[in-house]
Amino acid sequence: MNLTVRMLAALCVIAILSGCVSSRIEQSRTARTGMSSEDALVILGRASYNDRETEASFTECLNEAVGEGRDPLRLVSEIEFKDLMYPWFEPRTAPANVDELVKLFAQPGVRDQIEASQVRYIAWINGDTITTGKGGSLACTLSTVGGGCFGVSFWEQDASYEASIWDLENMTSAGAISADATGTSYLAGVILPIPLVARPGNAACKALATQLKEFLLTEES
């Protein structure tokens, strides 16, 4: 009996922590890559002035996942890099493509600063997580004789991100990796509200980090 209760509790915890997510990753390579142990990568969220842009929490997750675990890469943080290169990587002044990067390198001190920081690659992150649908019905009541929640509500989220990788040594675009993940979260009311939360943003972050490491460390052309 005790074992059954424990197993049930464990299953509930697993269900709450996981949720149902499906993800897909795609990669296109346009140049040879490879990193020495001194080379560093900087991950930058592409800013925009509309209401949607890459969440800071996503680039933080990506930094953590790329800089730790198996084959961690040497990273320079976004704020450190932007301070080093100020005013050239602010939202309204950052190069939009490799041609603009080439022009930027002609500015006094820019190339020297990049070389001193040993940043070999920039990964520009575009994308966001949006809620694409929601439905169901959940009602909670509270009275003098007790209370509870009954029903089910759900919401679907779509996380879509792309990393564009620039090689600062060769001044080329090395390629791009895209990660898409979708997931449906549920809130079931069985007296107590039980959440089954899917985290497509987290799944996209982990998938993109794994692929980014492989992309940069594998010396392919």
């Binding site: 005013p87 602010e90 006094p108």
Partner: protein, 206 residues
């Protein structure tokens, strides 16, 4: 005794409401050194007391009172910006300067904050705080004549969470200072008026 307890409870409640409705934000952030070529001129910079200690106070219905102190961060940021933009800088009193005060200077620069504004998610309907700073930068030549006046708007925004409203506005303000500074650092040295002023200051050499 019961009356005293009730009064205390009401007093604490009122205090809590007042505290929860008031936002006192001290803007702090990193101070980068701009990677730009300094113009080969010696300029005086006038920072007014208002610029050095700029504060914005606003009461917004439903979301309370706001006091944003950005002066110190902005002042230190501009000191470093001006030191990078010009070969030599020195603080000067408020223009117009007397001829003897202009000796050795190629010009005088006066940066000012004209207006600061911010939007909260409850006003904009978007999931972030945004801040804007309208700067005015005036350049005078070595004779005290106005060369040009620029109006530059710095803009910043930051995502908000449930418990980080004040830090989101702080970050948006830091970004607005950086954005305004970036425009000043890049656009002003390229302006035609500035290029001809520098050429004149160097005795006609371009």
């Amino acid at each position: 005794m019961r009356g005293v307890n009730l009064k205390s409870l009401v007093g604490v409640s009122v205090l809590l409401v007042l505290v929860s409705c008031g936002h006192n934000i001290e803007v702090e952030g990193t101070i980068p050194t701009p990677r730009i070529a300094a113009l080969p001129v010696n300029v005086g910079i006038y920072y007014s007391e208002e610029f050095r200690s700029f504060e914005h106070e606003e009461v917004i219905e439903d979301i309370g009172s706001w006091k944003i102190s950005l002066g110190e961060q902005n002042f230190v940021f501009f000191q470093r910006l001006m030191d990078s933009m010009f070969e030599e800088t020195q603080d000067v009193p408020e223009p117009p300067l007397r001829p003897e005060q202009l000796v050795g200077l190629d010009g005088v620069v006066v940066p000012e904050i004209v207006k600061y504004g911010f939007l909260t998610p409850s006003i904009s309907g978007l999931n972030f705080y945004s801040a804007s700073i309208h700067y005015r930068v005036t350049l005078f030549d070595s004779e005290g004549e106005k060369v040009h006046e620029w109006t530059i708007v710095g803009y910043g925004k930051s995502e908000t969470g449930l418990f980080n409203r004040d830090s989101a506005l702080k970050e948006a303000t830091v970004m607005a200072i950086r954005d305004g500074g970036a425009r000043i650092a890049i656009d002003i040295p390229r302006a035609a008026d500035v290029l001809s002023w520098v050429a004149d200051a160097r005795g006609g050499a371009s």
